[in-house]
């Protein structure tokens, strides 16, 4: 058998970019199926918190100006975000293991554009995140969550996908630079800070001081505004939509650029 090797020097993008990205994604998914434990963290915590918060914080809806009288409706988008973000970190965790084992070198030896490795890792993490999102949403519905405006559901889905991609890019940018599995436990710290210093727990209007100031500039607040519209009494409004869309575009672009540069400079 003869395999024809193209040495014409044509552009990298032509050399199986998407098929390479798909095969990297496929590998991640195969591994997840064989080691389901790797999704436990991203699945367990949002599910657990959703159940606990729904039971504990019912009275929070009595706060003046609270935009819903159903606490599960309030917390479900937040927990979907948390699951998506931690699912997204799977890209970085997987890459950290590959770097440690030397398998990442095998991927780097691909002749095509190495960005396909990054795209494939993000795609795999997105699959994980979507799986988690479906389970958490199911639990939320079982606990009584119910959309008040169905037009907001695609916006929530968009925000979940975006959060997963951002989580992936953030973790990949870090691991490409540090190149050491020991950095992996630090991934969740940034996510925790961003998620909790926002309007995740209560509306910004009831926060004060530095928390309020930080929440206002935190892009996650805008993403929560975008995603929560499906479940709040106010329904979908442009005012609560545009900030989230801007946050998605800007944050994804910046994190993508950061991760891409990290990969490009992986071999110093």
């Amino acid at each position: 058998m003869t395999v024809t090797i193209d040495t014409s020097g044509r552009g990298d993008a032509a050399f199986g970019f998407w098929s390479s990205a798909r095969i990297v994604m496929w590998r991640g998914w195969v591994k997840t199926q064989r080691m389901p434990s790797i999704v436990v963290q991203s699945l367990f915590f949002p599910t657990f918190f959703l159940i606990v918060y729904s039971g504990l914080y019912d009275a929070v809806t009595d706060l003046p100006g609270f935009p819903t009288d159903d606490v599960t409706n309030w917390f479900l988008p937040f927990m979907l975000f948390q699951g998506a973000a931690f699912g997204g970190l799977g890209a970085g965790f997987g890459t950290a293991v590959d770097i440690d084992s030397g398998f990442f070198d095998r991927l780097l030896l691909m002749p095509g554009n190495r960005s396909a490795i990054m795209v494939g890792s993000v795609g795999y993490a997105l699959l994980r995140s979507l799986f988690v999102a479906v389970v958490v949403a199911g639990v939320g519905v079982a606990l009584g969550a119910s959309p008040t405006d169905w037009a907001g559901v695609p916006l929530l889905a968009l925000a979940v996908v975006a959060i997963s991609i951002m989580g992936s890019l953030y973790s990949l940018a870090l691991i490409y630079r540090v190149k050491d599995q020991r950095v992996a436990p630090l991934f969740p710290i940034g996510i925790f800070v961003l998620l909790f210093v926002s309007s995740a727990q209560v509306p910004l209007s009831v926060t004060t001081g530095w928390l309020n100031a930080a929440g206002r500039i935190n892009p996650v607040t805008n993403l929560l505004r975008l995603g929560r519209q499906a479940f709040l009494d106010t329904g979908v409004t442009w005012e609560d939509t545009w900030g989230g869309l801007v946050a998605i575009v800007v944050c994804t672009a910046l994190l993508g650029w950061w991760a891409e540069r990290g990969l490009r400079h992986y071999n110093p």
Partner: protein, 318 residues
């Protein structure tokens, strides 16, 4: 293009450490070239530069006529690489990894699956193809690694310590496969190793690297003949080594040896062994064990560096 691998003045620094310091290599088409040296000598670092996994601090290199710095994508299309300690995902099966490797090299569908089957058969892994690689023995992993590196029929093959940690039988099997590849397809092979026997058995030419510098280069037999006389190694009470060395100096120059031994390059060869023993006996120096070896690559290494390869210390770089 008669030399698919050409490196000139290759340098790689890691901070203050110079891991590779001005390496020149010219590997001819269809040649098996052995890169021999102890751990930390700079072998793997050189291979990583030639395979585009590491950038060059200075110098230049071409592989299959393509510049590793300016045309790394094309270099990666024409090389196969089996890296140190077989970087293979233990969760995947052999067949799945071949599929992944094929797609990464632009080979898809039926062609990829046929090629995978052919390679699995070639390296004797057809029966284990659908088992997770984590269940493979060290030798099976190495053979799979070799198959993975051959998926796209590379023009140049880099094998970085392909038999480290393998038992003798697995080592022999891998050697045979490398020889077969070279014989049947004329694949140019650059093989790094710290095993003298491996370099001696497989390589048509070798370069000995130590401390990032090539200290000898040539055909194994030629290098060995340049060392000259055979080595006589004598086990003697260490308290009497100085006396013994003084006596032995009339029979040949001293050579590096393990601590309990004294070694010389015996001028005149085996015919003078009895004379040496008599001289020592006359001064009551007891010889408990004695070996006379024709020059080996270890002698070549010792002559070039003042150390034995097996005892060479690790210095850090790969």
């Amino acid at each position: 293009m008669d030399h698919p691998i050409v490196a000139e003045g290759l340098v790689r620094r890691f901070g203050d450490l110079v891991a590779v310091d001005g390496v020149d290599l010219h590997v001819a088409r269809g040649e098996i070239f052995g890169f021999l040296g102890p751990n930390g000598a700079g072998k793997s670092t050189t291979v990583r530069m030639l395979t585009t996994l590491l950038s060059l601090s200075a110098g230049s290199a071409t592989v299959a006529g393509y510049d590793v710095e300016r045309e790394p994508h094309i270099v990666r299309r024409v090389i196969g690489v089996a890296l140190q300690e077989a970087a293979i995902d233990p969760i995947m099966t052999g067949r799945e990894l071949l599929k992944l490797q094929s797609v990464l090299h632009g080979i898809k569908g039926r062609v990829a699956s046929d090629r995978g089957d052919e390679l699995l058969e070639r390296v004797g892994l057809t029966a284990a193809a659908d088992r997770r690689v984590g269940t493979y023995s060290g030798g099976m992993k190495r053979r799979l690694d070799l198959a993975l590196s051959l998926v796209h029929e590379p023009e140049v093959l880099f094998l970085d310590e392909p038999t480290t940690g393998l038992d003798p039988t697995s080592r022999q099997a891998l050697w045979e496969e490398v020889r077969r590849l070279n014989d049947e397809f004329g694949t140019t092979v650059l093989l790094t190793t710290q095993y003298l026997e491996e370099a001696d058995q497989l390589a048509g030419r070798i370069a000995i690297i130590d401390g990032g510098v090539i200290v000898r280069e040539g055909e194994p037999d030629q290098l060995k003949s340049e060392v000259g006389s055979p080595t006589l190694r004598l086990d003697i009470d260490p308290s009497r080594h100085d006396e013994a060395r003084a006596i032995l100096s009339q029979y040949g120059e001293s050579r590096p040896a393990r601590s309990e031994r004294v070694a010389i390059g015996l001028e005149g060869g085996a015919a003078r062994v009895a004379e040496v023993v008599r001289s020592l006996d006359e001064t009551s120096i007891e010889v408990t064990h004695m070996e006379l070896d024709a020059p080996s690559l270890d002698d070549v290494f010792a002559e070039a560096t003042g150390r034995r390869l097996e005892g060479a210390a690790e210095t850090g770089a790969g």
